[in-house]
Symmetry: C2
Subunit: 408 residues, 2 copies
């Protein structure tokens, strides 16, 4: 009965530090129920409950109290957790050789809305980025949903920390164009909420595949892809992109994969870039590439329409051998626990998975003992989803701070 006041407590006295990790678990589909969330976070049920309630109050996830069928297990059924499909979205943008594309991406990596990719060949980055941001702004307006930020996937290495595009070769953009700055400026100008980010498209594809696709659960994930000209690589270590000290890691295009191969603009010859990209494939198959559709599309068409054409078979074999040599070199250096292939490389893998795996195993020193799993990409528009991941990252790191709200 003394006058000692009970300490006044705010509504949320638990789980503040676990909010980010918890959201990430739901975001990546690793916490389907509250019970799993409790185990994954390594906290008590009380804390996990507070966390889930807070994330629901923030409009980010839904906690389904009505489980219905509990499917076989004993005990009280656990509440289901899912991302809130009516929640905020990230604006994702991608520019590539054939044009651009804008989309809204919700938590969980689900594409909510897409603007059809327009073909806008322009040597002025500001013009193209302005167009893609405007398309995204229209989608946002239409949807009426809150925006957590914007992300751009660029088909070029992006230098850190400047954010300049170093080799926007097939965009006809000036080398060193400050794409991050231009994109951020356009996003601001369009009145879009939240911060703006820019990254390399293969890096972002790898990030997306790691969180929502074929890379789930990998610790050291290597991703290699080729879309138009040249080859891109990316590495995700412990769930984080390894971009290197200046953003230029995994520029794998100039690994030597054919000492007697064709000359490369880098001064060497037989580089991965010129030996395994779509142009190399079409050339090896004895085709003359036309200007109508992208080189990747022409390669795909060729592979699908005439897989048994002798020239195509020879080309597939040659490119697989070269790609395998490059991958083996990367395995010796990076020792990843999974490899994911995109673009034409993915098609090559599909065409003859055993041959590619055999080359990698044979040419990597330790690949023989089991071998590294080599898988195709599984996400549609993975670069776009990865761009959205950039925008979602602050929310995943600290939901309260990123959404600018007080705990409810």
């Amino acid at each position: 009965m003394n006058g000692k006041a009970t300490t006044t407590r705010t509504r949320l006295d638990r789980g503040r530090n676990a909010l980010g990790p918890a959201l990430e678990l739901v975001h990546t589909g690793r916490a389907p129920t509250r019970a799993v969330l409790t185990a994954e976070l390594g906290v008590t049920r009380a804390t996990a409950g507070a966390v889930a309630a807070e994330l629901e109050a923030l409009g980010l996830i839904r906690v389904d109290s009505n489980p219905g069928a509990a499917a076989g297990s004993q005990g009280r059924p656990s509440h289901r957790l899912a991302v809130d499909e009516k929640g905020p979205v990230a604006l994702a943008a991608q520019v590539h050789a054939d044009g651009f594309r804008a989309a809204l991406v919700g938590l969980g990596g689900t594409i909510v809305a897409t603007a059809p990719g327009c073909v806008t060949v322009s040597a002025d980055p500001a013009q193209v980025l302005g167009a893609v941001v405007d398309a995204g702004a229209a989608l946002l307006e239409e949807s009426g949903r809150r925006c957590v930020g914007a992300g751009l996937a660029a088909p070029s290495a992006v230098a850190e920390p400047e954010g300049t595009a170093l080799n926007p070769l097939h965009l006809a953009w000036p080398a060193g164009a400050p794409v991050r700055e231009i994109f951020a400026e356009r996003v601001r100008a369009a009145g879009i909420e939240g911060p703006a980010f820019t990254g390399n498209d293969v890096n972002l594809a790898a990030l997306a595949e790691h969180r929502h696709g074929a890379g789930r659960g990998a610790r050291d994930l290597l991703c290699v892809a080729t879309g138009h000209r040249g080859v891109g690589g990316a590495l995700v270590l412990d769930g984080r992109l390894h971009t290197g000290s200046s953003g230029l890691a995994l520029e794998v295009g100039h690994l030597t994969v054919n000492p007697e191969g064709r000359p490369c603009h880098c001064g060497s010859r037989g580089c991965l870039d010129v030996e395994t990209d779509p142009l190399a494939f079409l050339t090896a198959a004895g085709r003359v590439p036309g200007p109508e559709v992208s080189l990747l599309q022409q390669s795909r068409d060729l592979l699908r329409t005439s897989p048994d054409d002798p020239g195509v078979r020879v080309a597939v074999g040659e490119l697989i051998d070269r790609l395998g040599l490059g991958l083996a070199g990367l395995v010796n250096i990076l020792n990843p626990d999974r490899i994911i292939l995109g673009g034409l490389h993915r098609e090559l893998l599909d065409a003859d998975p055993e041959r590619l795996r055999a080359v990698v195993a044979d040419r990597s020193l330790w690949g023989r003992s089991g071998g590294v799993p080599i898988l195709p990409c599984t996400l549609d528009h993975n670069s776009l989803v990865g761009a959205a991941e950039l925008a979602w990252q602050p929310v995943l790191d600290d939901p309260l701070a990123a959404l600018g709200r007080e705990p409810v």
Copy 2:
């Protein structure tokens, strides 16, 4: 005057979670004073004070209340922090082609005592490891100091998580020898306190250089070295060794650096291994290696006694060009912010630093813009110090748990 007991406090009610980070700061020389420690930890002065007092009570560091000369700055002089030179030690062991070496290493990476390396060529790992552990145990007995654990540097890739030596080529050991297990067993048998660890020597050298040598402050540190036959690599990312998913990362020996080069046992030709190791150097210089001392020592002697010999100059130039090509390939893949060279590669760098830097800058895509700093190793016995780091790591992670003491 009511019966409400004041909450009983243990002696240390602060800084328990900051103990490890604080010790690491002192260990790596980044916290010379308590004021710096406060800033680096991002805690209040009160917490930092409690942390320093606790670490001192644990016998790990010394807090010097008598600063004496405060050197120019205003305000109250800060207490100086230093590792306790009378504190516990780690037992470090190294085996290499010419024998083995045992040492005691204190916090801060200082070698407290060394047993002279003995030449013991034996095909039996248990025998060699037994001998080196016995030498270490004798050092420990002599010093009378507490041991926190033992670490072994092996001249071979160490597979994770098995701990087997995959290619102990120049030790005449059987491939796949369970060195980690054997070493741990010998450590236990010798009655040495604490856990036992095993790692690759170049990896451990990189770790040591990152914490105490030329790699301090680097975020992405690449280390390349050659000692006898073959080339080793290591990568330290954000202060942690990147060993890859199965411990086999940075097996850089089979990068192609000379398409028309000599054949390698891997089936390819012109690999970094056979083009830049001491044997390659002696051969390129037109010398016939003798059996008396190690190939590295013969190379060093040659470089020091006849640096202007035409054959030597040609050999230096050739090997620098090949090494530069290999480093450039690694730069394109890893984009490190610093490169450290050891063994013969260090000598090559010393012989003509400009040439090596020029080759790397010219052949790496982005090296032109500034270029990666390439530095020689600075620590004596860095593999040995790195082996000790393995043993120190549990203490750095959680001093109270590792030393098995209650807070004082």
